[in-house]
């Protein structure tokens, strides 16, 4: 029965390869249908709960080598040395990967790349550089490219963005490991260290970079939204004061000299760079900006500062 099942899966894989040549969508559908061929948990990693957790007679331990090494460490110094060696190994492999990626030039049709990417994401991950170029192509779409004018240019720009994302993500995760190395064996356990190593290694993949870009882009948008302030509602008197501040800063106000504006800026706590000390227009622009951003209390303070510096004009109608 098991043999028949494996044969069916092998036949399916051959059929899948054939269909990949014919069309991405059909291949993807078949891939979903063949999902039962692996022992996946709802499309995730295969279960480990039916395997022994320790070494069995005549067989190697079921854990990865790095995990075994970390489990065997008996001192902080030993654990940290293992981690340092692993970091160096991961970094060396990453640098090699990036060099290859940057050399890679692809002129294949983007649509084909994306169809194959869908299959790749669904489970046929490979270490081949060609597959990685497909992720780069998907990144082009994720960053908003809709019309491919110059595919090579897009590819190169996308690779630069993805490498930057991988670098940023790796730097953050490396910090976790370095912080953990300051902890004792009880606080930063072997499984913690192994999980961090895995995350660090995974951060050097294009798929991870795409996820990182999406997450940071969303954070940036949320932050940008929170930067947009409501318009401050003013009473007629406050409106008049704000407008009077603005008019007093107009260039046709003879009282608006660099010296008087510097005095007002000093009262308001505005820092004027050395290069602008004698530039009345530049100082006025800074105070105008402050006036635009001010709440009702701020408008009154600016009004008082301009008045005491002798800049305020008579705004009575």
């Amino acid at each position: 029965m098991r043999h028949r099942f494996e044969r069916t899966c092998a036949d399916g894989a051959r059929l899948l390869a054939r269909l990949r040549r014919l069309g991405g969508l059909a291949a993807l559908l078949l891939l979903v249908a063949l999902g039962g061929c692996s022992q996946a948990i709802r499309g995730g990693a295969p279960t480990t709960l039916d395997r022994p957790s320790g070494p069995t007679a005549g067989q190697p331990a079921p854990l990865p080598v790095a995990a075994e090494e970390l489990m065997a460490a008996t001192s902080v110094a030993q654990r940290n040395q293992l981690l340092q060696r692993r970091l160096i190994m991961i970094d060396a492999a990453y640098v090699d990967f990036i060099s290859t990626l940057r050399r890679q030039k692809t002129m294949t049709d983007l649509a084909t790349s994306l169809a194959e990417l869908a299959i790749g994401v669904a489970g046929t991950l490979t270490d081949g550089v060609a597959a990685k170029t497909h992720y780069a192509a998907a990144g082009t779409l994720l960053t908003g490219g809709t019309a491919v004018v110059d595919q090579t240019l897009y590819y190169e720009q996308t690779v630069i963005a993805l490498v930057a994302a991988m670098d940023a993500n790796r730097a953050a995760l490396r910090l976790n490991i370095l912080r953990g190395m300051n902890e004792d064996l009880g606080a930063y356990t072997a499984d913690d260290a192994y999980a961090d190593l895995q995350a660090y290694e995974r951060a050097g993949t294009l798929l991870s970079a795409i996820g990182y870009i999406q997450a940071t882009a969303k954070q940036a948008k949320d932050a940008a939204d929170s930067d947009i302030r409501d318009i401050v509602a003013l009473t007629p008197a406050q409106y008049d004061a704000k407008a009077c501040n603005t008019r007093s800063l107009f260039s046709n106000n003879p009282k608006r000299t660099a010296a008087s504006l510097q005095t007002a800026a000093g009262t308001l706590g505005l820092t004027v760079p050395d290069s602008e000390q004698s530039d009345a227009n530049a100082i006025a622009a800074r105070i105008s900006q402050l006036n635009r951003d001010a709440d009702t209390g701020g408008i009154a303070r600016i009004n008082a500062a301009l008045s005491s510096a002798g800049v305020l004009i008579d705004c009575t109608p």
Partner: protein
């Protein structure tokens, strides 16, 4: 160019007053977009996000907002038309000065 948000539940007159308050700083309303406005990852609400252009030594005349279909104000010129959230409803509006 910079942006300010305008609450979605205001009347046309209130919005015109707010735009005038902002323009007293020496800028002029340029455009409005209705956006899902999020803060600190909380569920967002729709708001008006107005763009303003900084002027050189000028304060624009107070704007008058008219809902599309209403008679235009006499003696004023149409400067902008677009969508605004007025009393919670997306409304096509003309801005006259």
């Amino acid at each position: 160019m910079y942006q300010r948000s305008i609450p979605a539940n205001l009347s046309l007159d209130d919005i015109a007053g707010l735009i005038a308050d902002e323009e007293a700083g020496g800028s002029q309303f340029a455009d409005n977009q209705i956006r899902l406005f999020k803060q600190s990852g909380k569920p967002g609400a729709m708001r008006n996000v107005a763009s303003f252009e900084v002027l050189d030594d000028a304060i624009p005349k107070r704007p008058t907002l008219i809902e599309k279909g209403d008679p235009p104000p006499a003696g004023l010129a149409l400067q902008w038309t677009g969508n605004l959230l007025v009393k919670g409803t997306s409304t096509v509006v003309g801005l006259y000065r």
